[in-house]
């Protein structure tokens, strides 16, 4: 072709640069770092709650999202706001994130704490997910440490959007 260089290679000649990663992980913030990021300089007091079956049903009704766990990791902020750590599980991804709520129950800020994806069975496996609890940037996993910038990962944040809807319903039902 005159105007451009086009090259075709059959699949057998794929570049040596192809690598296979059965799992990918990124850590951004610890719970403490996220608290400081969302509520800088504020005092937060742990205030975990456990939802009753009735509350869980009401939250599901209001948010149209499943309540997978009734134990809510919650902190109360001195100014009246709330800090909640939650997790969502997609087909291939497992994401822990923190939501800061203002005193009036509106979202102040959302921060991703950890992001894991896997193309095996692991994401649905609670033991696999448990190993990431408490991990942070200061203690990074060895896994694929150099693979950080991936293009073509059109990941939907629908699961997080659903999770935040569920948290807002939790506020209405159990915290307000």
């Amino acid at each position: 072709m005159r105007t451009a260089q086009w090259t075709w290679l059959p699949a057998a000649c794929l570049p040596v640069a192809v690598i296979s990663i059965p799992a990918y992980a990124a850590t951004y913030l610890t719970v403490e770092q996220a608290q400081q990021a969302i509520f800088p300089g504020e005092k937060l007091a742990p205030a975990n709650i456990t939802l009753t079956n009735e509350q869980a049903r009401e939250i599901e009704r209001r948010s149209d999202a499943n309540v997978r766990r009734k134990d809510i990791k919650l902190w109360k902020v001195a100014n009246g706001g709330y800090f909640i750590v939650d997790e969502v599980v997609g087909k291939h991804e497992f994401i822990t994130y923190a939501v800061g709520l203002n005193a009036d129950g509106t979202v102040k800020q959302i921060e991703i704490l950890t992001y894991r994806e896997s193309y095996g069975y692991e994401v649905r496996n609670a033991d696999w997910r448990a190993q990431f609890v408490g991990k942070n940037a200061a203690a990074p996993l060895k896994l694929n440490k150099d693979i950080k910038n991936i293009s073509g990962a059109t990941l939907s944040c629908r699961h997080i959007a659903d999770g935040v809807k569920r948290i807002l319903a939790t506020y209405e039902v159990a915290l307000k």
Partner: protein
């Protein structure tokens, strides 16, 4: 090469995806915060869904009504127009109506259904950030605004004293400063990655049906890219990656490469861009033509590197 160890990375759900921002430097945390805020503004201005965005105001406005938009919206509309003209309408932001009809976007409330003949020609860019639509059309900036948001976020980092960083909005990314390794996903197997090399001052955007696909009634795969010439959602199983000096350009040109690869080969060099196509048959590259190398093969992806990849 690794990213610098003192790099700070944060991620937030924005633009309908996960946006990750990394920066090195004393002011990194504040700079990242400012960059996220800029992306939130772009999102608010250019969202099809939010009723008070510039895009929704424009889509609701009666035909031939002048509207003043944010300078950023105006800039994106200007770029979109330029790419539409060069691609002979292959890239066209007035596909909103077709995306709604195909079920990819919700129908805007209070907006008149667009004219079937509407095209980018119907959008006039006037002075002082004023624009007008000559006939009812629904504009969707989904194919370009994400890239622009990445560019703006990177510029915000730089303005805040960061000299090495990266912004990755669900696969549309920009890196600057210390060169960083970039990978592309295989369109059919997300666990397989291609190494694109170690780049800096470069944007990479990928468009791949595999992760956003929706099954058609007849079993085909459709995705939210409309072919304006056929007015139907595209079906495919390949990934298109464009490397360019700006993410807006990279983002928009992935659509042109996909819909009109031959024309794209002429358009890419005008933006200093290159493309990599991956499908089950293998890997193809579109690079600037050899005889124009004196104009400068962009340094971020050398011809030798392209040869090595393909």
């Amino acid at each position: 090469m690794k990213s610098p160890s003192n790099e700070i990375r944060r991620a937030r759900p924005l633009l309908g995806t996960l946006v990750e921002i990394g920066a090195v430097g004393e002011n990194a945390t504040a700079a990242i915060e400012a960059a996220f805020r800029e992306i939130e503004i772009i999102h608010r201005l250019m969202s099809f869904h939010e009723t008070d965005s510039d895009v929704s105001r424009l889509n609701r406005a009666p035909p031939a009504t002048q509207l003043e938009v944010d300078p950023r919206t105006y800039e994106v509309l200007s770029w979109a127009r330029r790419i539409s003209i060069l691609s002979h309408g292959t890239f066209d932001i007035t596909v909103g109506g077709k995306l709604v009809a195909a079920g990819f976007l919700p129908k805007p409330e209070d907006a008149e259904w667009p004219s079937q003949e509407a095209s980018f020609h119907d959008l006039s860019l006037l002075s002082d950030n004023r624009v007008l639509l000559n006939r009812p059309a629904w504009i969707d900036l989904g194919g370009i605004a994400k890239g622009y948001a990445v560019d703006r976020a990177a510029a915000t980092l730089k303005r805040n004293g960061v000299d090495s960083g990266m912004v990755n909005a669900g696969g549309d990314l920009y890196v600057f400063g210390v060169p960083q390794p970039i990978h592309i996903r295989h369109p059919e197997d997300a666990s397989r990655l291609f190494s694109l090399g170690i780049l800096t001052d470069a944007a990479v955007a990928s468009s791949s049906g595999c992760f956003t696909e929706r099954r058609d009634d007849d079993g085909g795969v459709a995705d939210p890219l409309i072919d304006p010439r056929r007015n139907t959602p595209m079906r495919w199983q390949q990934s298109i990656t464009v490397v360019a000096p700006h993410c807006l350009v990279a983002d928009a040109l992935t659509k042109v490469v996909r819909l009109a690869p031959r024309r794209a080969a002429k358009i890419l060099p005008q933006f200093g861009a290159q493309a990599i196509i991956i499908d089950r048959r293998g890997v193809r590259g579109i690079a600037p033509p050899a005889r124009r190398r004196s104009c400068g093969t962009p340094p971020w992806l050398t011809r030798a590197r392209m040869q090595e990849m393909i």
